[in-house]
């Protein structure tokens, strides 16, 4: 069989990536998104800095108040909330456009016949979407720079972790959007499917609030739960790799379903195999989770000595909590003790037990008791503070608290910053730059023409048309 030499110079990615890049920038969606995001981030940032400044006033007299002031909670998480909105409601449209427009115009039929694999075409789209997302993140990153310029403290590890959380969230949303675009006949249907999927996570979180069992486990897989962990300053290898696997799975299935040459039966079979493979890999990475508390006040960790002692527990620790999931004591216990125990103890099983969701009408005397079992011994307590719980666990395990020097106490970073510069940047300068970029992008060719191509263009422009169109 003759095999013609149809390999593009430099490889297909060298042609497809610039093409996707210019095609995306030539569309209006990205620029509208940036304009909206500039205003959104500007509003979120100025509001957050203003509230943070008010809280900082009282911190001048009270050092205890100062210690509770963290720029992560006070400034960065609210500011990046604008990026969350953009990732959820606006960025999917850019992702959908990369596939849907080629399906609708019929360009896909031509693309499928190019001398490169469909995976190369999809890889080029993903690469460009990542680059575009980094542009979309610029307003948020500029807010971090503005905060730093105004004398604010930036904990780079916690900010980087927050940024990573939003990136991973976007990766999964992009996967959902690409799959929707591959399945749907039109962009509008794809957009509805994508929004339905992200809203379904909200509904799941709402339904699972205060619930245990399957619903709670399902909500742990939701996108909002994924992001919440990063917002709290916890880097979890399971969450990060899980999001990457989910994103890769969704994009792979999108690639399978967009290929017109594959039969329905084969699409179903290949997609099923991809799901099985992804679940297997995800289960594998969950076996040895890695947690890093990136916050400067180490709010998600026990003291270093306690963390080291708990990590040495080699038998399963069982915790039976006789509290209703919506009981404030349970919520407090979960935040201050249980979540930290889960990250510190290698083998731990926590079982909530209650008759009602709120606990308001619980009559049992044992309500409020927490039962701890370790190595055949058990103890109980009604305390929800680590000061009582940890010695009790050490007692059950028969171990001494290890002597490890602890971290320096968190000083807190109160600041009353001005927002004048931020308002000029977000409401005037940045929008002007975006509009200028928008205008410039409309003038760019789809590919980088070589000097010879430009010569062709100028030469043939001067020729007389031989017929009308």
């Amino acid at each position: 069989m003759p095999s013609p030499e149809i390999r593009p110079r430099g490889g297909p990615l060298f042609v497809l990536v610039p093409k996707e890049w210019r095609d995306t920038l030539a569309g209006h969606t990205i620029w509208v998104l940036l304009l909206l995001l500039s205003a959104l981030v500007g509003y979120s940032y100025t509001q957050a800095v203003s509230l943070y400044g008010e809280a900082s006033k009282s911190a001048q007299q009270l050092p205890e108040v100062a210690r509770s002031l963290s720029p992560l909670d006070g400034v960065f998480v609210p500011t990046f909330g604008a990026l969350y909105l953009a990732n959820t409601f606006l960025f999917p449209f850019i992702a959908i456009r990369t596939i849907a427009s080629e399906k609708q115009t019929g360009s896909l039929k031509l693309l499928l016949q190019l001398p490169c694999s469909l995976s190369t075409v999809v890889a080029a789209k993903l690469f460009v979407l990542l680059a575009v997302w980094l542009i979309v993140a610029v307003p948020c990153l500029s807010a971090v720079a503005l905060w730093s310029l105004s004398g604010g403290h930036v904990g780079w590890a916690e900010v980087a972790n927050l940024f990573l959380g939003h990136l991973l969230y976007a990766a999964v949303v992009v996967g959902v959007a690409l799959l929707a675009a591959a399945l749907a006949e039109s962009s509008a249907t794809a957009a509805i499917l994508t929004l339905a999927a992200t809203l379904a996570f909200w509904v799941l979180d709402f339904a699972a609030a205060g619930e245990g069992g399957v619903l709670k486990n399902l909500s742990n897989l939701s996108l909002t739960t994924l992001l919440r962990g990063f917002e709290q300053g916890v880097f979890s290898s399971t969450a990060a790799l899980g999001a990457l696997i989910a994103g890769a799975l969704l994009v792979s299935i999108a690639g399978i379903w967009v290929d017109l040459r594959i039969t329905l039966a084969r699409k179903l079979l290949t997609s099923s195999l991809a799901v099985v493979l992804a679940v297997g890999v995800a289960a594998g990475v969950a076996i040895h989770p890695l947690y890093v508390d990136t916050t400067q006040d180490a709010r998600n960790s026990f003291a270093l000595a306690d963390a080291a002692t708990l990590a040495s527990l080699d038998k399963p620790l069982q915790v039976l909590v006789r509290l209703a999931p919506e009981d404030p004591r349970y919520i407090d216990f979960e935040r201050k003790v249980l979540s930290k125990l889960r990250r510190s103890v290698r083998h731990i099983v926590v079982t909530p037990q209650s008759e009602t969701r709120s606990g308001l009408f619980e009559n049992s005397d044992s309500y409020g008791v927490v039962l701890y079992r370790y190595d055949g011994k058990q103890a109980e307590s009604r305390s929800t503070g680590e000061g009582e719980v940890l010695p009790l666990i050490y007692g059950l395990a028969g171990i001494e608290r290890k002597a490890v020097p602890d971290r320096d106490p968190y000083p807190g970073y109160p600041l009353q910053a001005r927002t004048d510069l931020a308002q000029v940047w977000f409401y005037a300068l940045l929008p002007l730059l975006i509009v200028a970029g928008w205008a410039l992008a409309q003038r760019q060719p789809m590919v980088w023409p070589s000097p010879a191509s430009q010569a062709i263009t100028s030469r043939i422009r001067t020729r007389r048309p031989f017929h009308g169109g």
Partner: protein, 232 residues
């Protein structure tokens, strides 16, 4: 070179194609002739691998050619396609020239052959139907595969343009290039094609050059139109 054997395709209870069998020889222009709805586009989509067949096989040089490998030897230009409507015609042409690894002089030749110079700076979406068709034909000129399949190459062209494009297609075809054209205008097909596959109601009613087909209808110097009517 290309052998199509017993291709069948159903849409629900209706047979769109039933046991389609024909061959395409190296260097010829083969016309797939039939009225609208005869199944020509469905057949081309199946041959290009864009649509799966319920049965049958496609052979290239005697070897079975799976759907995913067809793009190595054939390039299909669908009828209703507007590639990258927001981009300029020159950008789209340059993109495909680069992807096909074609040198700049080949791109210039394709542009000149199809007289696309006046519309190079125009957005593809703003082109007239005729220019859009010629832009697609230019992509066909840039494609290096030995078999080019074009669905309705003359659709949207006036008489003079049709004659010009006929000349371009004739030059495109040669010892190393075969054209398979789906045409519903019998006069255009008769002027351009070396051989014909007559399709009606999803099945092949005749295959051969005009003399062969005339012989099947009883001889006489009749037009392709009359032959088609006699055989279908």
């Amino acid at each position: 070179m290309l052998k199509v054997q017993n291709i069948s395709r159903r849409f629900g209870p209706m047979f769109a194609l039933a046991d389609i069998t024909f061959t395409a020889r190296r260097g010829e222009i083969l016309g797939l002739i039939g009225p609208n709805g005869a199944g020509k586009t469905t057949l081309l989509e199946i041959l290009s691998g864009m649509l799966s067949a319920d049965g049958g096989s496609v052979l290239w040089e005697g070897s079975l050619l799976p759907a995913l490998r067809r793009k190595q030897v054939m390039f299909y230009l669908p009828e209703a396609v507007t590639p990258y409507p927001d981009r300029r015609a020159i950008d789209v042409l340059a993109l495909f020239a680069q992807l096909f690894g074609q040198p700049d002089d080949r791109l210039a030749a394709a542009i000149e052959d199809l007289a696309l110079s006046p519309i190079l700076p125009t957005r593809v979406g703003a082109l007239s139907k005729g220019y859009r068709r010629r832009l697609l034909l230019a992509l066909g000129l840039l494609a290096p595969q030995p078999l080019i399949m074009i669905d309705e190459p003359f659709d949207g062209l006036d008489l003079k343009q049709t004659r010009e494009v006929t000349g371009v297609l004739r030059r495109l075809c040669g010892a190393d290039r075969t054209l398979l054209l789906s045409i519903h205008q019998l006069s255009d097909a008769e002027r351009l094609c070396d051989r014909f596959v007559l399709v009606s109601g999803g099945s092949v009613r005749g295959e051969g050059n005009l003399e062969d087909l005339r012989a099947r209808t009883g001889g006489g110097h009749v037009s392709l139109e009359e032959v088609f009517l006699a055989l279908t």
